[in-house]
Symmetry: C2
Subunit: 449 residues, 2 copies
Amino acid sequence: MIASAGLWRLFQSHIDELQKRAERLLERENLELLAIHSGQQKRWFLDDMNYPFRANPHFKAWCPETQLPNAWVIVQSKTKPTLVLLAADDFWHTVKSVESEDWIRAFHVEHLKTPEAIETLLPYDKKHAAYIGEHIEVAKALGFDNINPDPVLHFFHYHRLFKTDYELACLEEANALAARGHIAAAEAFAEGASEFECLLSYMSETRQGQNEVPYGHIIGQNENASVLHHWQLATANKTPLRSMLVDAGAEVCGYAADISRTWSYEHNEYEELIAAIDQITLALIDKLKPGVSFPDLHRLAHEQIANLLFAFGFVRCSPEQMIEDGITTVFFPHGLGHPLGLQVHDVGAAQADERGTPIPSPKGQLTLRTTRTVEARQVYTIEPGIYFIEPLLNKLASSNKTHLINWKRVDEFRPYGGVRIEDNIVVYREKNDNLTRRTELKDFKLKVN
Amino acid sequence: MIASAGLWRLFQSHIDELQKRAERLLERENLELLAIHSGQQKRWFLDDMNYPFRANPHFKAWCPETQLPNAWVIVQSKTKPTLVLLAADDFWHTVKSVESEDWIRAFHVEHLKTPEAIETLLPYDKKHAAYIGEHIEVAKALGFDNINPDPVLHFFHYHRLFKTDYELACLEEANALAARGHIAAAEAFAEGASEFECLLSYMSETRQGQNEVPYGHIIGQNENASVLHHWQLATANKTPLRSMLVDAGAEVCGYAADISRTWSYEHNEYEELIAAIDQITLALIDKLKPGVSFPDLHRLAHEQIANLLFAFGFVRCSPEQMIEDGITTVFFPHGLGHPLGLQVHDVGAAQADERGTPIPSPKGQLTLRTTRTVEARQVYTIEPGIYFIEPLLNKLASSNKTHLINWKRVDEFRPYGGVRIEDNIVVYREKNDNLTRRTELKDFKLKVN
Ligand SMILES: [Mn+2]
Ligand SMILES: [Mn+2]
Ligand SMILES: [Mn+2]
Ligand SMILES: [Mn+2]
Ligand code: NI
Ligand code: NI
């Protein structure tokens, strides 16, 4: 958790809203209590070391401090939620103290001496209680029968799409922080730094470790920019250095930024390709509004990519035929975007209502997992891209569409890997708020040779 | 995996030794085949992101590349071991290619199109086959009845204590790398860097990320040096800056370095305390030899710490009484050391033989988990320390031993946190090889004010 003081004045209303939602759910499901478990440390196989702790996102929705294993939020009607903290005698580890935090006043606070002592804070008869968390064996040992009931999860997942002011403020701060990291990484790149060195510059600016961010830093130079999730960063310096795609975020009180930027090492046609994708990103954001179906927007993105493939001379056929023949999917093989929040690929992306009715992908859009119709107070990423991906290009070359491709032109761009530009957008009824372009990234121009 | 070319000339003998061990085991246990599973990616709860991948240590013993989920080593008598690699169509991720590596010639190599295809490489009748790995449900689905049998695990754990030349070379390289990281972190500290900035300096020098090291970097400044596993590094600069304890390693082909160093920001009495602990480390290493029981060495460490507590004026009673009364345990509450290898706290630490007969901790040595008698070709850490740990001191202050403590003197040192000096030692019949003091750390003196 890192946060500016301004956040906390919004926190109580956030908790009030969650409490209101929960009370409606409790009544509907004939429940009296929700016990939301943060989680437990997980051991490496046959070892005494743990994986980095990741809290249950349902816990994160209530509690801004995400590094609290063995903690609980207990929700009941007509009473403040209870935050249960483990206060074990542990001189081995740094134990996060949250007692003096501003936000804690939204809770009634209880302390446990051992993880098992949670039992004393739960009703003996658990017929009307539900456990929300990962540790089924813990829930069973405590006597829960209702463990992660589908109606409960669907309900919370659906409502999480609609952000409170506090949540929007967290996402805004996360964007500001990640933006500074992007600028630091870009400046290191302009000095010839390796992927790993650019990561260190990013971390140095954001002051978040590799396990404190919502997803692994993606930093790909040259051909590596074509690997959509390039997480194995190279430590060697590349010569000649040509390009860098950075897809990296930051986390504030559990809320994620998810920003992509792409940089050219020189003024050249690849730089023009980046500018063209940037324009497509902005054009698509312009179309993002309440009532628009995300699959329609994805289809529109393919049209724009098709136009670009034609304009840059990569493909010689009509945009309609390119889409029809699946050629745009070779160059743009991922989804246009996704909801953003407590998780980088936030929940509810394909859920029509609070009952969890699924919205299937339209035919031919298997790469898109966001199928919702956009509504106000939702937050989406918009992230079109164009890539020169070896295995996909090889498949295309040996298909009956190969004659439509200007392979010489494609080969010119392969050494640059690809381009992705990704912004984070709050949709309101009247306008969009582009959180990413409200940061220092807005006016930033990388000085290159 | 990172390794110098020199390593590979030792690798074939390493595999030959593992194969020899395995054949003896297979015969003893009436088995024909061992299927050693590297593991699978693990998902965060309700998410589509994974925890950092950690390979099964039994897989790591055979395969120097540790980032290969869904890989297998299959061991049978009188035939080369088979390395099974997943060659899935995955353009989303960087897929490590090991095909052209030198070491791969020690294996017969097979490729799978899907993880499930491993079935085709296993015998239909699995009565004489054993699964070694974390994923019980995978083993059961494949039809294994013998899943991680105790006699098999005990056998390998016991023999892993005795290192091959290849393993010693890996540990040596890991030490050299970690030593450079320690120097970089110390130099950043001398410039006034924060804990997090010192981490970045360490990473910059070792070029290993936070999930590529054998354990989380412990970097504690001032009072934080008293937290034995201080993993939540502070990003703020401390003023005045007084001290820094760094316990950090590196990994080479899956083998760990585990080095601790402590630094003073000024020339003062705390610097003398560091020098005194350094002398104790060296004196204890001098006593580490074949035939010595590790618990005896731990007892000796407590004597030395007791002498130091008296000499520095922290405690006013005889060293014998300090140990008797448990006072040394307040200032030195952890074990003296542990076996080191594929895991930072390596297996076999309390195992008398290949059948797994346990060696219990001697009375009063509950903090020591290494109970073995030392033998040649084993590798141990030696890591004495002295700490001013708030909760332990508070307990002592309210005990009937409080009059034995010079609290004014203790209070002078609390702001420095503590001291730990940890080396990695190979024990041979004739001599020890201090891997840590063969590095650049040997002659390194930090320039301070
Ligand atoms: Mn995204
Ligand atoms: Mn992204
Ligand atoms: Mn150690
Ligand atoms: Mn250590
Ligand atoms: Ni992925
Ligand atoms: Ni620990």
